[in-house]
């Protein structure tokens, strides 16, 4: 690593693939075209409904070397969720490969070959568990067929076990490496003929102690993230981006910049008018011999910008606008059942509350970075991206070349959280390389670039009203949700939340209430609105789960009892009947909203957390439940609020029902992480705008939870699934939404103070 002349490129996944597949010894090599489902006109769900669907061809995903090394392709992006471990592990288990002899290579962006690669929406395991089992089962059967042929015995007499095939009758064995050549000649079995292992034969699937494939490299500093890519003769670039959404470059002076030692060149990139889509922001580029020189050079630029349409954007004023519309009757009616307004007017008692949730930036620990070069009319990019195919397509459009002329190699991601789904920074790198005549260039985003130019989590005002009868039963529910929509990033003038956003916990509430009215007044966007881990579930769950605690308090009932009663009897609800036609893209038959499971996680978590236990003054427990990404999560947080109004969190319990658990250890770690990210947004994180520009630009202004404020204990309780044939739920995101409301409900129980806006910051100081 210390030798500057080392061919650094060898560290890169793409090269490993080339090496792995092209060189001798690897025989299950070149794949057939993607085998997609037959295209019928019916609505497609789950993995069938995703762009470029799925592929389960063993020739695409598995190769075996004569020394027995089994190479498995990871086609989804690794950003901390463990997918590079978990999906290949499914293949290895199903094919009876020994994990010690497995090597993982990362796929480049090529969905025709690998199926959908957009690592987003908590979908990887949910959509690819079965395809990866198919891959593994097919590979195992090909190895068995090869052995049977070599021994001239019936295939039924042989069995693959722990990296070899055994003929029990004769006691003969052949290792996978010895069988590789022959196995590659065997026909790939049809899916309907695949024989799967039974759950009791699993070696890795569902086991508790699987180790991370990248664990050693991470601990020893040998991994390659997008930020770490190095090519021969590479230069470095940073970009001075237009400060507000829609600003453009007027003029600049680079005299001082060019005096900075190491600065090579200054050039400009065009800005594109809103809507942003995945287009690069444009601006002034400083190219230098190292990152530091480029950053110093950027500081010395003097730039004049043309003010765009969003220079007036001011979070304090915008908040008033949002809240005014959320309090006014009307707006697009999203769901209407019964006579909510009448019922509220005639109710024995009512309750009203308004909640506010600010913009957030994903701020993955690794800021965006992309390295590009153009050789022989092919633009090759190395980067940390959640969505490499979108990178290929967007870069091709901007370079005006065919997608085949763009290669996107996926490195490890230093976090993603939705930010790295948007390939604006890939396009930037490609355009800079083009301007440099194809020279290799690493475009680095500083933390300031990252925080000021996120695709921000939206800002929301949520207005709720409920009516009760004399016994305190809920008779009416009114919810008005107002927030700039993600659609505004893709279409001019989009002002209403999309079905996807509304389906994140606003319309699909399974509450047993006769009169329900849900409205969505318009809101304009003044910055790039994007998605952030768990997306609109954050404001929706915060408002609804806080409100339910307020309702319980108002009617003098225990929060848990009240919540269970509100959900009502055990039933499976067709999401469409709740006006949710999206349902996370999943089939309503396979994934109905199941109130038994929702109540199950509430009962489990309250039991494990000893709900209602006696706590000292200043301490309290809070509860929240939320269904998202077809997974049920209930959370109990215990807080301590000291005399200065500072909140600490001694313990969080989380119950998760996500169906079958393929890699329970990574499920736990995702839920732990969600608790901490949820604590961040509850306690301290907020992006505000002034004159169209973010007030925060680094971790001093944009504060996230650190060790001293982190929950001391997090206990994750997984609801066992009946078997591995049940539909899988998402894991990466659903842990997030209940955290903030559970914290605020706990604070209420500890102090009597109700938090209705995030972040909490100094609100508890007296």
């Amino acid at each position: 690593m210390t030798d500057n002349n080392l061919p650094q490129i060898e560290n890169i996944s793409r090269r490993s693939i080339l090496k792995g597949f092209a060189l001798s010894g690897l025989v299950l090599a070149v794949g057939m075209p993607a085998q997609l489902l037959a295209a019928d006109e019916k609505q497609k769900y789950g993995r069938d409904g995703m762009p470029n669907g799925w592929v389960d061809d063993p020739l695409v995903f598995v190769s075996i070397a004569e020394d027995g090394t089994v190479t498995i392709v990871a086609h989804r992006s690794e950003m901390g969720q463990g997918v590079r471990t978990s999906l290949p592990m499914v293949v290895a288990d199903e094919m009876e490969a020994d994990w010690q002899q497995v090597k993982i290579v990362q796929a480049e962006g090529n969905e025709k070959r690998y199926g959908n690669q957009n690592t987003d929406g908590s979908r990887s395991m949910r959509h690819f568990f079965m395809p990866m089992r198919n891959v593994g089962a097919a590979a195992r059967m090909m190895l068995e067929a090869a052995a049977a042929a070599m021994w001239a015995v019936p295939v039924a007499e042989v069995k693959a076990k722990n990296h070899q095939v055994i003929h029990a009758k004769s006691g003969k064995t052949l290792g996978f490496g010895e069988l590789a050549q022959k196995a590659a000649e065997m026909a790939v079995p049809e899916n309907q003929n695949l024989i799967y292992k039974s759950a009791d034969e699993f070696n890795y699937i569902g086991k508790k102690d699987n180790k991370l494939v990248d664990g050693f490299d991470i601990a020893t500093g040998q991994t390659t993230y997008g930020m770490d890519v190095r090519l021969d003769d590479m230069v470095y670039a940073v970009v001075a981006h237009p400060p507000a959404y829609g600003d453009t470059l007027k003029s600049y002076d680079d005299t001082e910049t060019l005096k900075v030692p190491g600065v090579i060149k200054v050039l400009t990139l065009p800005s594109s008018p809103p809507p942003a889509v995945f287009n690069p922001l444009g601006g002034v580029v400083v190219v230098a011999s190292n990152t530091w020189a480029a950053i110093q050079g950027r500081k010395k630029l003097s730039i004049e910008w043309n003010a765009g349409p969003n220079r007036q954007y001011d979070s304090a004023k915008f908040r008033e606008t949002l809240q005014a519309s959320s309090k006014q009757k009307g707006g697009k009616v999203i769901r209407s059942k019964g006579e909510t307004y009448n019922e509220l007017a005639n109710a024995s008692s009512t309750i009203t509350a308004d909640y506010y949730i600010p913009h957030l930036a994903q701020a993955p620990m690794e800021p965006p970075a992309a390295t590009a070069r153009i050789v022989d009319n092919v633009c090759e990019i190395w980067t940390a991206t959640q969505n490499p195919q979108a990178g290929v397509d967007t870069v091709a459009k901007w370079l005006e070349v065919k997608p085949e002329q763009v290669k996107v190699n996926v490195t490890l991601l230093g976090g993603g959280f939705g930010r790295k789904s948007k390939p604006d920074y890939l396009v930037e790198a490609a355009l800079i390389s083009k301007a440099l005549g194809g020279q290799a260039v690493k475009t680095v985003w500083t933390r300031e670039d990252d925080i000021q130019h996120s695709y921000f989590h939206t800002v929301s005002a949520e207005h709720l009203e409920a009516g009760f009868d004399e016994s305190g039963n809920t008779t009416a529910w009114l919810h008005r949700t107002v927030a700039p929509t993600i659609a505004s990033t893709f279409a001019k003038d989009a002002k209403n939340e999309m079905p996807m956003e509304l389906g994140m916990g606003v319309v699909n509430i399974p509450f047993d209430v006769k009169n329900i009215q849900i409205e969505n007044p318009e809101a304009a966007a003044h910055t790039r609105i994007g998605w952030y881990r768990s997306v609109s579930n954050i404001p929706h769950a915060f408002a609804i789960q806080s409100f339910i605690a307020e309702m319980a308090h108002k009617t003098k009932k225990d929060h848990k009892d009240f919540l269970l009663a509100l959900i009502g009897p055990d039933r499976e609800i067709d999401p469409a009947s709740l006006k949710d036609d999206w349902n996370y893209g999943e089939s309503p038959e396979l994934y109905p909203l199941n109130t038994t499971r929702m109540k199950g996680v509430i009962n489990m978590v309250t039991d494990k957390a000893d709900w209602g236990k006696t706590l000292p003054k200043g301490s309290g427990q809070g509860l929240a439940v939320h269904y998202s990404f077809v997974t049920y999560v209930a959370t109990v947080v215990e807080v301590v609020v000291n005399d200065d109004g500072e909140v600490s969190i001694p313990r969080i319990d989380v119950a998760v029902d996500c169906g079958p658990q393929v890699n329970p250890e990574r499920i736990r770690s995702q839920i732990e992480g969600a608790c901490i990210m949820g604590a961040s947004l509850a306690l301290t994180s907020e992006i505000t705008f002034k004159d169209g520009v973010t007030v925060q630009d680094n971790f001093d202004g944009y504060q996230v939870t650190r060790m001293d404020a982190a929950p001391k204990e997090i206990h994750v309780h997984l609801v066992p699934a009946k078997d591995f044939n049940q539909p899988l739920g998402g894991v990466g995101e659903p842990g997030m939404p209940p955290v903030a409301p559970a914290i605020c409900n706990a604070i209420f129980n500890a102090t009597g103070k109700r938090i209705r806006e995030l972040p909490i910051r100094y609100q508890l100081e007296s």
Partner: protein, 152 residues
């Protein structure tokens, strides 16, 4: 300028105010030390300078003259560092892993100074290191496990 990095003497030709971070990463090609904020706010760039943890993103290379820089790439040459790396792997601490070079260097520096840290000691030593993925409970557990290792 002459430097000692991970026990090797190295020669670099950069302006004296260039931070150690960018000298390591861009000039010497040692990318184990990460860039997270550039302002001493996140700890991703933590290295040791004569055994003390420092934020390499704000420390000029001139400050390292005649001193020893130790980075994640050589942390295993130290018994404590090795125990920390082992604990990290056995507990599966990392999620994305990007912050973990800095976390491991900071934890190693803590345990070298204080072989049996309390929770408060851990808070003080580690709160400069952000983990956006939220691995703090496991980092705490791994530090305690590594500390026990040292007891044996």
């Amino acid at each position: 300028m002459k430097l000692t990095i991970n026990g090797e003497s190295r020669q670099v030709d950069v302006p004296a105010d260039t931070p150690i971070l960018w000298t390591l990463r861009d000039v010497l090609g040692m990318t184990g030390t990460k860039f997270g904020c550039g302002k001493a706010l996140c700890g991703a760039c933590t290295v040791m300078l004569d055994g003390q943890p420092i934020r390499s993103c704000v420390t000029p290379i001139s400050a390292a003259e005649n001193k020893k820089i130790t980075t994640i790439e050589a942390i295993s040459e130290d018994k404590v560092g090795q125990a920390v790396q082992e604990a990290w792997q056995s507990i599966n601490v990392p999620q994305c892993g990007y912050c973990q070079s800095g976390q491991i260097v900071a934890a190693t520096a803590l345990l070298r100074d204080n072989p049996n840290p309390t929770d408060e000691d851990i808070d003080t030593a580690m709160s400069g290191n952000i983990c956006r993925c939220g691995t703090y409970t496991r980092i705490r557990a791994a530090i305690k496990q590594a500390a026990q290792q040292g007891d044996k």
